[in-house]
Symmetry: C2
Subunit: 583 residues, 2 copies
Amino acid sequence: MEVRSLVRPGAYYDSLVLMQLQQALSLLPGVVEVGVVMGTEANRGILERSGLVTEDLEAVRPDDLVVAIRGQSADAAVAALARLDEFLCRTGSTGEREYVPKSLEMASRMLPSADWVLLSVPGLYASGVARQALCLGKHVFLFSDHVTLHEEAELKREAERRGLLLLGPECGTAIVGGVGFGFANRVKQGPVGLVSASGTGLQQVSCLVSRRSGVSHALGTGGRDLADEVGGVASVQGLDLLRRDPETRVIVLISKPPSVTVARRLLEEARRAGKPVVVLFLGYAAPARRAGNLHFASTLEDAAGLAIELAAHEEPSLAEIADSRANPSGNGDLCFARGQRYLRGLYSGGTLAYEAQLLLWSHGLAVSTNDLASSDFRGSSAGRDAGPGHRVLDLGTEEFTQGRPHPMISNDVRIRVLRQEARDPEVAVILLDVVLGDGAHPDPARELASACSQAVAEARKSGRRLEVIAVVVGTEDDPQGLESQVKLLEAAGIRVFMGNEAAVGHAASLARALEECRPLGPPVPVPLTALEPPGAALNVGLEWFAGSLQAQGVPTLHVDWRPPAGGDDRLQGILRRMKGHGA
Amino acid sequence: MEVRSLVRPGAYYDSLVLMQLQQALSLLPGVVEVGVVMGTEANRGILERSGLVTEDLEAVRPDDLVVAIRGQSADAAVAALARLDEFLCRTGSTGEREYVPKSLEMASRMLPSADWVLLSVPGLYASGVARQALCLGKHVFLFSDHVTLHEEAELKREAERRGLLLLGPECGTAIVGGVGFGFANRVKQGPVGLVSASGTGLQQVSCLVSRRSGVSHALGTGGRDLADEVGGVASVQGLDLLRRDPETRVIVLISKPPSVTVARRLLEEARRAGKPVVVLFLGYAAPARRAGNLHFASTLEDAAGLAIELAAHEEPSLAEIADSRANPSGNGDLCFARGQRYLRGLYSGGTLAYEAQLLLWSHGLAVSTNDLASSDFRGSSAGRDAGPGHRVLDLGTEEFTQGRPHPMISNDVRIRVLRQEARDPEVAVILLDVVLGDGAHPDPARELASACSQAVAEARKSGRRLEVIAVVVGTEDDPQGLESQVKLLEAAGIRVFMGNEAAVGHAASLARALEECRPLGPPVPVPLTALEPPGAALNVGLEWFAGSLQAQGVPTLHVDWRPPAGGDDRLQGILRRMKGHGA
């Protein structure tokens, strides 16, 4: 075995050209192994460790081409190296070409209608070029990897300030106005819009949706958009755009498990969309199958299926086994008073209380609780210390039952807590469970209804409206009789449900209606024109992507970009400062 | 305000009698506050701290009754105390009664047909009485709380050894052969069987199921059955019983989030049920909506809805948007060789690989992976160190792409890994993704199919069968053409799916079929007769529960149980040792 290598100084090629070269050289007779890289420090190290170079690479620079070949003989290696230029011609990367601009500024002047820049230069340079593109007022599709989290956060905040989209880094795919960027499938146009921090997730779901429905837009955000430091900037912009986009009737939001804070923010944004949003946080516990306009999916196929169904039927007919019972509220036309906004869940059943917390969270309400067992539940530990606010109590725990009968047997404790909470001027909604059956109190509804009536009347005297909602767990054959218990509660103006999820959902919608409006959406909305097919585009980095855009009919100008200052970091910093882009 | 109290030595009453007394005394004129407790140390402390006693309670013992009253005047308090005996008569706890046995042994001799013991004595004594009941060969419904976790684990292991059920402690509800224990609703008989570590969860689901279908049996296990120390003994027994029970066609398993180890064990048990099992681990991320016969629910209503649907249609028609394509396997009749049992996922898409891990876990397969981001995923970190075994690789991560093109652009790395894995004599199934679209390799199926054909043929020569399964992500309009790519793969004997979930599901079912059989179910099966309506029952503790059983037509003998040795712990220990029940 013999190794031969050569260095071609100042000859920058993108990684696809390098790959094509490598494949061509590998197929030559007597060639065992081939290395074709740009001379960055990392690449030099790999070559040296693999024993593929004989000479000293110390002086090699990032924009030098290094080719190394291990042949069965020295002759084979030398013969292969000799054919380098022939192959370079074949890849179209040398030889005659029409004039191509060497900088983004120049390209932008040559093709002023370009509203997007596709960027796939090495990570080391990506953030600088991306910032240039934003300064030129372009949206950016940033394919490059190795951009630091800090740089990503800065770039996205810059884009946000300018009302521009920056998709990526490591954004592999997007479909904007029917035009695919990067790796994208040719899907049918339709009513389903996607925002995805996962590239292949976006591709899988958009392909499956395309089989039975269609895709309006699919915005990849880069895998780290939902990290705390980045804060989901691109996802929020995407949700906001799809919310306003009249073509999009159903939104799908996809990510690996995001940070708790960012998850909350995104779900808030999704809730105000005013259209169904399918949420897939892979590996994340969905506390409900549905909460308001949010539909929680558990797999990519599940997400696609839900989106198709929702697009076909607007809102799907859920199996409504938990029928709500229509009844007049005892409150007449009385409005909630200023300051009334909180919910109190007063449960006798531990699991019902626990489920209520989970469900309220999925409705975007932070809840405090007395249940120590749930301290591990995301967000609720924060809610626990939140002082006043929404609260769910399990009255069957020891702190309430110490020396007293369980609230399923006796209503005393519950009625005492109920009276106390009903007097709180911040409380608007009270949520109860009423458990029937053998062993339970022989007539719980009578005592509870009477206490509720009194509490509601007392609040009314102070000008406050108090809504009481109850889930009744029981059957017609239970000793208390379901129908008669429900009638007692309804006669007291209590809204009765047969299922906890439905009762909590109703309570949550009241509580949310009473919340103060919070500022939402990106601070500077991205104009809806961002979702139109690109008028034109500039491509910096892999030529491969320019070809794909041109094939889709988008005029695309490829920039003959080279690492600035021959890849010298120090010089590059000086150049950047001279151009006024900050240190 | 004046306080008066009295102590009635050696007069044990259960907590419901105490409650009735308290309520009656509270209603008397001039009475402000009433305390009625047995004289345990904890209760004495509460009374003292609340200022409800004037005298010294130091000498009071656990089986002494203490009554304390705060009156508007001393006269009112004294007058109220004077009526104590009158109220005690009314509660039926003193006065003439037919002969009642004072010990479990005696009761058992008097009513030998009793196969169940309902137990609700104070926690301090519960474990001793429960052990007696097990020694007498009875199933135990253990309502008491304050049994330690260690005692619970010991009792359940004892029950397991004897092929008996011990439901509880803190088991509030069960329905056995149509008879309700504790707090239970009168539900319709039907095909849905429940095993639940949550009392109100069981009640909510059984009530909702009863509205549209019916319940065969509902076994509460106590909230801590799924703790690591207990290991889910009662839940495993319950699943095993419902598996064998011909009346039960669908099983529902309910719990708050269990420990990872116990969750695995229960899901294994559920998988071998041979009937649909709806799993609700509240607040736990269900990695799929369905995996084999397991259906993951997210709320109590959702669980009830799924059970009803499954009972009505056997297996529900899922929206099969991910159509599998029938094609002949290239393996003919060749069987897997001895030792072939593992699966290898070789993915180019990061999210598809991540989802595959989650899905394989939900199918009960422990998977190791190269994806560092997933180290927080339950169980997979354990799987990571498991050495050989099932493995899913994301070939798009840096360790594989360093200096090389991404596997979506070039198949080189994947083909190299594929060849290597195919030679591993333990590998039986290979799972690939093939991502089409703009930007992707122009003809990935041709290269991959050819490599797979070679690998399968090579394995065949060594007498091994190699199954290759692929998920193809693409559309008809993609440049590669979906149909032609699929045909290339199928011609090579590869089983092709359009969705990752379906592909992984198929791979998992093959891998599971190749697993060695593990011993499952409880070591000593509980006889199916345990699910018959109790022939008779013994009740120790709250009389309330005996009344409910009698009302349901079950002959029930109430045991006039008193704390042994007057509640003296030390003496009690001596007595127990004398009877040979261990220290």
